[in-house]
């Protein structure tokens, strides 16, 4: 597999300003022209750095760019959700808040949605089959500390992964049954289907 979830999260958290500037510049270029028409030089220019500096930050050039930007964005989105997620005080609320925020971020991410619409060949390989393992592992790793507040250790990883799968399927194949802008639909999913699957026994489930 090569890249592990740990590498990913560290890639975001330990990124320096220059790397973040480059990622932000890449996103702006892709939003403006699409991925195919964006050159590595465009990104360097947008970031206000020299070509040589740009290649030092992203040694793989444009080829490795999608994976790097994706890692950064997932890391950033989790980071931004941190405060709201940490404020939840029951497993049910944690799941509702986490799923709602993650779905809102995915479905509301303009560059991702633009690419899914117009350049699916660039992003889809990262969200299918064995390459999705990396995304799942990463998402599970980032959400595990929150779940561990309410679940015994062996239940954490399977729960984190199940939640990540639920978020991905309802974000990529939308349904009004589970709508990120309808918190009640998410609460129903959590109460009816997810809590029984995730909690090892009934006492841990929060009361309605």
């Amino acid at each position: 597999m090569g890249v592990t979830a740990r590498d990913w999260s560290e890639q975001y958290l330990t990124a320096d300003d220059l790397e973040r500037t480059m990622v932000a510049a890449a996103l702006r270029c892709v939003a403006r022209w699409g991925f195919a028409k964006t050159t590595f030089d465009d990104i360097a220019r947008e970031a206000g750095v020299s070509r040589a500096t740009a290649y030092r930050v992203f040694p793989g050039g444009k080829d490795r760019l999608v994976a790097t930007v994706l890692h950064h964005e997932i890391g950033r989105l989790f980071h931004e959700a941190e405060t709201e997620v940490a404020a939840t005080d029951s497993l049910e609320d944690l799941l509702c808040t986490g799923i709602r925020l993650a779905m809102q971020m995915l479905t509301g991410h303009e560059v991702l949605q633009y690419m899914l619409q117009h350049e699916p060949e660039v992003v889809l390989p990262h969200f299918a089959f064995h390459r999705l393992d990396v995304v799942l592992a990463y998402a599970a790793e980032l959400s595990s500390p929150h779940l561990a507040r309410f679940l015994p250790e062996p239940a954490v990883r399977p729960a984190a992964e199940l939640v990540a799968r639920v978020v991905l399927t309802f974000s990529f194949n939308p349904s009004d049954r589970v709508d990120p802008n309808d918190p009640l639909s998410i609460r129903r999913l959590v109460q009816t289907y997810l809590l029984p699957a995730i909690t090892p026994n009934a006492e841990l489930r929060s009361p309605r």
Binding site: P125, A128, D133
Partner: protein, 193 residues
């Protein structure tokens, strides 16, 4: 009209045979035309988008075949949970053994995934209907809606079939545990923990 549909199917089947024999990167409009005994012009008449459009047609044709085979191989399962376990394990095995898909994912993931993903809503719908039918007569947990449960189970089946994550799904005991503890715990009274 019938002749047109026949020619179209003949081209798709020829393309599939070339993919099996030659691999993804070496299959061309030219090799498909030769194999089908048709001119390149005929192929472009049916697939004006050329290799991309033909590729997309082969993908959706093959997805249909794949699920027919999966349905046939899981027909004998006894109860609902066993049927789910078999769907999952047989589905994973068929995907693993699917040389054209594995080759395509390796060589041309960017070309095979968009058409594959674009037929997913149809696949999801088929699987949802089948699950809804199978859930009829099962003892659902209070508050569970059959159509809603069928939709969620169809989504999760496809998710685990494509990507195992941290589960060892070639181990039947672990697949069984996944189905009973994670997929059905919220749906059927029997597995409510």
């Amino acid at each position: 009209m019938a002749e047109t549909a026949d020619t179209r199917t003949r081209i798709i089947e020829a393309a599939h045979e070339r993919l099996v024999a030659d691999g993804v990167t070496r299959t061309t409009i030219e090799s498909v035309a030769q194999h089908a005994g048709l001119s390149r012009a005929t192929i472009y008449r049916h697939f004006p988008g050329g290799r991309d459009e033909l590729g997309a047609a082969v993908v959706s044709w093959e997805v249909g075949r794949f699920f027919d085979q999966l349905r046939a191989e899981t027909a004998g399962a006894a109860g609902f949970a066993d049927w789910m376990v078999r769907r999952l394990t047989v589905g994973r095995r068929l995907l693993d053994e699917h040389e054209v898909l594995q080759d395509a994912l390796e060589q041309e993931a960017d070309q095979v995934l968009p058409p594959l993903v674009s037929v997913m809503p149809i696949v999801l719908g088929m699987l949802r209907d089948e699950l809804a039918q199978r859930l009829e007569g099962e003892h659902l947990r209070p508050g569970v809606d059959r159509g809603e449960a069928a939709d969620l189970l169809a989504r999760l089946l496809l998710s685990f079939m494509g990507t195992a994550g941290s589960w060892q799904l070639d181990d039947p005991a672990e697949a069984d545990r996944l189905v009973r503890e994670q997929l059905l715990a919220g749906v059927l009274v029997t597995y409510d923990r």
